[in-house]
């Protein structure tokens, strides 16, 4: 079977795979081998044509790059209270080792996606975050993931929130040097019964970088998952968020902000599976596009047959500040039940003239008035952030993003 016209390119990753030291437990080695085989077969997406999933985002430039493999550069910041573990997967011992084996690569399907298969085959220094049953963690766990010039990294994060636990996590992606590099991130998040996880993701990669991220989340009965993302960087950035609401009353709230400039391309794809009754999903994505940058938002919702009292809402709003900026936005609803409350809407526009005038009559110049309005526009997405430290961090993050414009 010949899939690609340029198999030589994928070869560098395969070579890297064979250089791996064979010191890992056999279950992991087995997964990696399968994943590598899948990657060889799938290859990187080459054509946008006929490829619905990559219709709006061109990653073919990846094929022209030869990045050098590097283990993920991750660092956890802050203190770790009792009941919480934040460790390198290699260092997992005792029951954590069993937990890792139970959950790793079970939610992010390496069989289907070349980036996930590549990450699964090659990740090093994965971060394992585990909150024990009933433990409620007050301070957010902060993980920094950074990349270096000319390198490819495969950061991997596995979060397990046992039943009744509560945890807030912040992931920061950024680059150290201004050259090009490739960050290929995969996160898996397991939210137990009555558990609650909020994940704040800040993507501030360098302007020439490739950032591909896959986040797979499974939410059990009465569980809740909150997600906030900020895209303010990357040359080509693609993020897939895939959530399975797999028990009664499971809910998720997804909010995202993207601010792009120059020729940046940021693509957010969400897919929410409502697999049980009384499940709720809310999505609000907002963006500001400058220069000739592009953004994509595709919000897909699938509701399984027989589910009752399902609620799903999504909104996407974009300000286009330049005539050559472009947004592709699209809801995709696949609903196999009648017992549902659903809404979706998107709006594309400019900063409101009357609001600018109002602020200017109070002494603000045009640029400051516009900035204040853009800030206000974006800050709406934080309305459901409950963790104070996370709210502060994300507010500052948005303010900084606008200030830098």
């Amino acid at each position: 079977m010949k899939i690609s016209t340029n198999e030589a390119h994928e070869t560098q990753y395969i070579t890297e795979f064979h250089k791996f030291p064979k010191t890992e437990p056999s279950w992991l080695e087995e997964i990696r081998t399968q994943a590598m085989e899948r990657f060889q077969l799938l290859g990187f997406p080459r054509n946008r044509r006929g490829n619905e999933f990559w219709k709006y985002t061109d990653v073919s430039a990846l094929l022209t790059k030869n990045f050098e493999h590097e283990p993920a550069n991750s660092a956890a910041v802050g203190s770790i209270p009792n009941g919480l573990s934040v460790i390198n997967l290699n260092g997992a011992k005792g029951h954590l080792k069993d937990i890792a084996k139970l959950y790793l690569a079970k939610f992010a399907p390496f069989q289907k996606d070349p980036f996930i298969s590549l990450n699964t085959a090659l990740f090093q220094d994965a971060v394992l975050i585990h909150a024990a049953e009933g433990i409620k963690i007050k301070n957010p766990v902060k993980i920094h993931l950074h990349s270096n010039d000319g390198k490819v990294t495969h950061p991997r994060v596995l979060v397990i929130a046992e039943d009744g636990s509560k945890i807030d996590i912040s992931l920061s992606h950024y680059g150290h040097s201004s050259g090009d590099y490739f960050a290929n991130v995969v996160s898996e998040v397991i939210v137990g019964k009555n558990a609650s996880v909020s994940l704040f993701r800040a993507q501030r990669e360098k302007p020439d970088s490739f950032h591909i991220a896959n986040t797979f989340v499974s939410v059990s009965e009465n569980g809740r998952f909150d997600y906030f993302s900020l895209d303010n960087g990357g040359g080509v950035a693609r993020h897939n968020v895939n959530i399975s609401l797999s028990g009664q009353n499971a809910s998720c709230n997804l909010s995202g902000v993207y601010v792009t400039r120059n020729t940046q391309h940021v693509d957010n794809h969400t897919l929410i599976h409502h697999l049980d009754s009384n499940t709720t999903s809310d999505q609000l994505f907002k963006g500001i596009l400058l220069d000739s940058s592009r953004a994509v938002f595709v919000g897909q919702v699938e509701v399984s047959p027989g589910c009752k009292k399902v609620e799903t809402h999504q909104t996407n709003k974009t300000l286009l500040l330049s005539p050559s900026a472009e947004i592709n936005t699209q809801p995709v609803l696949d609903i196999a039940t009648d017992d549902i409350q659903a809404s979706h809407g998107n709006a594309v526009g400019q900063v409101d003239r009357d609001s600018i005038f109002y602020l200017m009559t109070r002494g603000l110049d045009f640029a400051s008035a516009q900035k204040i309005l853009m800030e206000g526009f974006l800050l709406e997405i934080l309305k459901s952030v409950q963790n104070e430290s996370l709210l502060l961090e994300s507010t500052e993050s948005i303010n900084r993003t606008i200030d830098e414009l």
Partner: protein, 254 residues
């Protein structure tokens, strides 16, 4: 302070103001009345510098400088304040946040001390208290979910913070209940001084019972058809505008 001569203003090529003459000196309070659509808000907007409003003839001088070429924010920094007839809501933008930014711009333009968040907070707290406005309202998004009356009070609070030389109050009384009208009027009266002029746009005598104007002007179809003192407002209240429009000779200002 303000001198308007033979002012003609068009919106989208349609002439709305057709030869306005008005002189406002320091410390004076002028009331402008007139039927719906006569051009009262247009006059307020042209003074504040709203885009889309074109001066086709005549001149407007504020403290000797030509307003027609002055950017909106410069007018504000020079001391002109507009209280909007329909203040808009701006979700996501906190009132205390943006008004501090404006305040500091005005201070900077006047060569005065800018205030940090804490000091400004103290200032706005005092102003809110003096206007009997809930301090918490200053922490909310601008007019977001505010009632009509609250929005008007909010405008007056901003005026109190910015301390303009010339305040244009476009129907500050509409939507206010009796108590709110009294509060707002008291607040405005407290701000009257030798160096501050007011232009009140209103439909009702009851506002002028609280804030006594020095002069009253009646606008109809883009021109003043009568100018006089507070008695003119009472005549309007009694007889309506038709009576004035159908009359041969207008009241004349001295």
């Amino acid at each position: 302070m303000l001198e308007i001569k033979n002012l003609h203003v068009s919106i989208n090529g349609i002439e709305i103001l057709k030869g306005i003459n008005l002189k406002v000196d320091s410390g004076e309070t002028h009331a402008i009345m007139g039927p719906n659509g006569s051009g009262k808000s247009t006059l307020a907007y042209i003074l504040a510098g709203k885009p889309g409003y074109e001066i086709t003839k005549g001149s407007v001088l504020f403290e000797g400088s030509d307003l027609s070429t002055m950017p909106v924010e410069e007018r504000s920094r020079a001391g002109i304040f507009l209280s909007f007839q329909n203040p808009i809501a701006i979700p996501g933008v906190r009132m205390d946040h943006f008004i501090r930014a404006g305040y500091n711009q005005l201070q900077k333009a006047a060569g005065k001390q800018e205030l940090d968040v804490l000091k400004f907070d103290k200032l706005i707290k005092e102003k809110a208290a003096s206007l009997e406005i809930e301090y918490s309202m200053t922490k909310r998004f601008v007019n977001d979910g505010f009632s009509g009356g609250e929005r008007k009070k909010n405008e007056i609070l901003q005026m109190a913070v910015l301390e303009p030389k010339l305040a244009l109050l476009d129907e500050i009384d509409s939507g206010l209940d009796v108590d709110a009208l009294r509060e707002v009027s008291t607040a405005v009266n407290n701000m009257r001084s030798q160096s501050r002029s007011l232009i009140l746009v209103t439909h009702y005598q009851r506002l002028l019972d609280h804030i006594a104007p020095d002069y009253v002007h009646v606008l109809s179809e883009g021109v003043f058809i009568a100018q006089g003192d507070s008695h003119l407002a009472k005549e309007v209240e009694l007889h309506g505008y038709d009576w004035l429009i159908n009359r041969d000779i207008g009241f004349s200002l001295k």
